[in-house]
Amino acid sequence: MTETAATLPALDESWDGLATRPGGDEALYLELDGWEGPLDLLLDLARRQKVDLLQLSILDLVDQYLVYINRAEALRLELAADYLVMAAWLAYLKSLLLLPRDPEMQPSPEELALKLQLRLQRLAAMREAAGRLMARDRLGRDVFARGAPEGLRVDRKALWQCDLFALMQAYGQVRARTRPVVHMVRERPVVTLEAALARVAAMLGTAIEWTDLRAFLPRAAEGEVPVDPRLRRSALASGFVAALELAKQGRAELMQREVFGPLLLRAARG
């Protein structure tokens, strides 16, 4: 392996890079915006050493970077924070590399430097790969697809399916659906409110004992054929409303001893 014999270009030399204007005025023309971050600037500086990135002099690189940052600061250029962070880190690394070695230190300064070199190497590799990729014969720039392709078209044609039974069924349902509809409400045996009122009022009379409301309803024994359970339900409902109405009129009193218990009824006391 060769020694790091890289002859470093003077900083004011005009480089084939972004650092100085081509043909440059060496008057410290700095264009930090031209770099995509501090690693990019470092890589640019490292390349000028014209050696394998793994054989690079990290101390020289650090010095060059710090000089750049100092110049930029002297010119009062706005520096993005990450350039300053990198500068601080590199200054620290430099001091570690120059100071007597502390065997306890983990990782060692050489390891830190090696990692930096590896990062630069990887960035350089990708940058070069990007260049080679962009230089390929690119479709639309170097090679061309057909200018006016007719295009391939697939026309989807529906093959409709239906059978005679489905047709009949559909017609039947249309006719069934639109046929005039007559609603028939069958007459049901009911006890009207008027009937219940008359009946309960008459039977209540002047009864002074609490009597179950159900005792006032029509019963089979009286020959009124309340056999139909629907009629009995109707009679109970009408009888209940009639009892409420009588209580409202002050002609009856109502009582219930427990929830859902029998409703008791007696004539109002004068």
Binding site: A145, E150, L152, L164, A166, L167, G172, A176
Partner: protein, 203 residues
């Protein structure tokens, strides 16, 4: 067709015509290729491509590559998707079949619901109904009738083969859906009433 490898000019003409957005005259090409005499190259290329899937042709003095005419069907391919006719379309088709010729408004009146334009389009596309003129009433609505393809598809000799209302009723097809369902599940206490219906649809 030539088996010889193309010369440089032939290749250039071939590439230029291939990449061109529109047909080019020999003069266009020549100008494009630094004044070269392109006609021999065009002739050689046309010969080379003759009988291939792509041909070099001259149309009104302009040259272009195009798909061989006998392969034009490849550019447009039909794919048939089997699809079930929708309920609405089936009903509309049945109404046209039983009542033809009918207008869309009449179909809607019979179905009792609006019928989307697309519904009849599907039937027209399927080739089962056709426009049968216009009804001579205000608005002159388009009227529709079935086609011979309809009869073929449904296996009918004539429209008279369509089952009459009595047959539909006998098959239970006139029962309202819910009544028919109830009858099936034994939950109905009322027989579907036999309301008088006109039986003269198939006039």
């Amino acid at each position: 067709m030539s088996g010889a490898p193309p010369d440089a000019l032939e290749r250039a003409v071939e590439a230029a015509l291939f990449a061109a957005d529109e047909p080019m005259t020999a003069e266009d090409l020549s100008r494009h290729l630094g004044g070269a005499a392109v006609r021999p190259a065009l002739a050689a290329l046309a010969e080379h491509y003759a009988g291939r899937g792509v041909e070099l042709v001259e149309r009104g003095g302009r040259w272009l590559f195009q798909t061989a005419p006998d392969l034009a069907h490849l550019l447009r391919r039909d794919r048939e998707d089997v699809r079930r006719l929708s309920r609405a379309a089936t009903e509309a088709l049945a109404i046209v079949a039983y009542h033809e010729p009918v207008s869309r408004a009449e179909i809607e009146a019979i179905r009792g619901v609006q019928t989307a334009k697309g519904t009849l389009d599907v039937l027209l596309e399927a080739g089962w109904i056709r426009v049968a003129g216009r009804r001579e009433v205000p608005g002159r609505p388009t009227i529709y009738a079935t086609t011979p393809a309809f009869l073929t598809h449904f296996g009918l000799q004539t429209r008279r083969d369509l089952p009459g209302i009595d047959e539909l009723r006998a098959a239970g097809l006139l029962d309202p859906v819910d009544a028919a369902f109830a009858a099936l599940t034994g939950g109905s206490d009322e027989p579907p009433d036999a309301s008088p219906q006109k039986d003269d649809e198939l006039s």
